[in-house]
């Protein structure tokens, strides 16, 4: 069994330091890896990233993250990234990582993602340059997510985003803001590979469970949604693809 812990939207700053730590100390007994689904900081400062490193560093299990929109707000992304990386946190943006868990290779591909809305009610790459740039941004990151997922050589494949890939996990949010919460292009990218699980955050008033049109389980792990330090998803051994016999 592979045990995946995940949380997003923790918005760490000095005033939050230590709140997650007691639960995180127990995490290695409950999970093999921790995924952070973006909005790690409050406004994306390097000082806040240091607080994230203090809270989520040195856990004893691999920690894999994507950034969220809050982590971009103060335009200090390079400093945020280096601070997190120095603390041993793997930050993905259009790439992937593979973790060996008792001989089973867990592959995680991640992007922050972006908005645009969902099939039939979405923005189009049409009109003003600002509108085309908005939609093109989502298209580009979705293509990178799809490529990263398809290129993974692993036994269990997980997609990690901040923005939502399906509307199911937005239930509870006002319909008017769905286009700012995610895009169907992310779901299409997830469905372009044999993905086992997709995890996202961003939608604080959303709901936990959904599915892509291709049947991939989607979980919204935004902290205000899960109302606990992290959720844990157990992928049963029989769900894991059998390893390809070598030498045949």
């Amino acid at each position: 069994m592979i045990r995946i812990a995940a949380v997003g939207d923790v918005h760490i700053d000095r005033d939050v330091l230590g709140r997650f730590r007691p639960a995180l100390e127990e995490l290695p007994d409950r999970a093999d890896v921790l995924l952070l689904a973006g909005d790690l900081t409050r406004h994306g400062t390097e000082a806040e990233a240091k607080c994230v490193a203090t809270e989520f560093g040195g856990l004893g299990v691999p920690v894999i993250a994507v950034l969220g929109n809050h982590d971009h707000h103060c335009d200090e992304v390079p400093g945020v990234l280096s601070t997190l990386t120095d603390a041993g946190i793997t930050v993905l943006e259009g790439d992937s990582t593979v973790v060996d868990i008792d001989g089973v290779r867990l592959g995680v591909a991640g992007v922050k993602g972006f908005g645009g809305g969902f099939a039939g009610r979405c923005a189009s790459e049409f009109g003003e340059p600002e509108m085309k740039a908005f939609v093109r941004t989502t298209g580009t990151v979705a293509e990178r997510l799809g490529a990263a997922l398809r290129d993974l050589d692993c036994d269990v494949r997980v997609a990690l985003t901040h923005y939502a890939p399906v509307p199911d996990t937005l239930a509870g949010e006002p319909l008017e803001i769905y286009p700012f919460l995610g895009s169907y292009l992310l779901g299409q990218a997830i469905d372009s590979a044999p993905t086992d699980l997709a995890v996202h955050g961003h939608a604080h008033h959303g709901s936990e469970r959904g599915r892509t049109p291709g049947g991939v389980r989607v979980r919204n792990v935004a902290h205000p949604v899960i109302k606990q330090a992290y959720s844990v998803f157990n992928l049963a051994r029989d769900h894991v693809s059998p390893p390809t016999p070598s030498g045949i």
Binding site: R19, A23, E26, Q228, S231, F233
Partner: protein, 80 residues
């Protein structure tokens, strides 16, 4: 308070660097506003109320803002 106050409060909560909260619902109720949602610390709840009182003096504010629990999970979800 006028027809645009809710929008102004919502934007102030998101755009003020001392608050930066996008998850607070602002609803007009009678002559006042009700603020609902969850934040990561009691300090942030206090900052939200301080900002609204300072920027929008005279408006009656009812706050129903909780601090999100951060305990370890009691069970895992089995994904067969």
């Amino acid at each position: 308070m006028n027809d645009y106050t809710e929008a102004e409060v919502q934007r102030a909560l998101a755009e003020d660097l001392g608050v930066a909260e996008q998850g607070i619902t602002v609803v007009r109720a009678g002559a006042g506003l009700v603020l609902c949602g969850e934040v990561e610390s009691p300090h942030r709840r206090d900052e939200i109320l301080r900002l609204v009182h300072d920027r929008f003096p005279g408006i009656e504010i009812a706050a129903d803002i909780g601090v999100t629990r951060a305990a370890a999970p009691t069970e895992a979800e089995e994904l067969a």
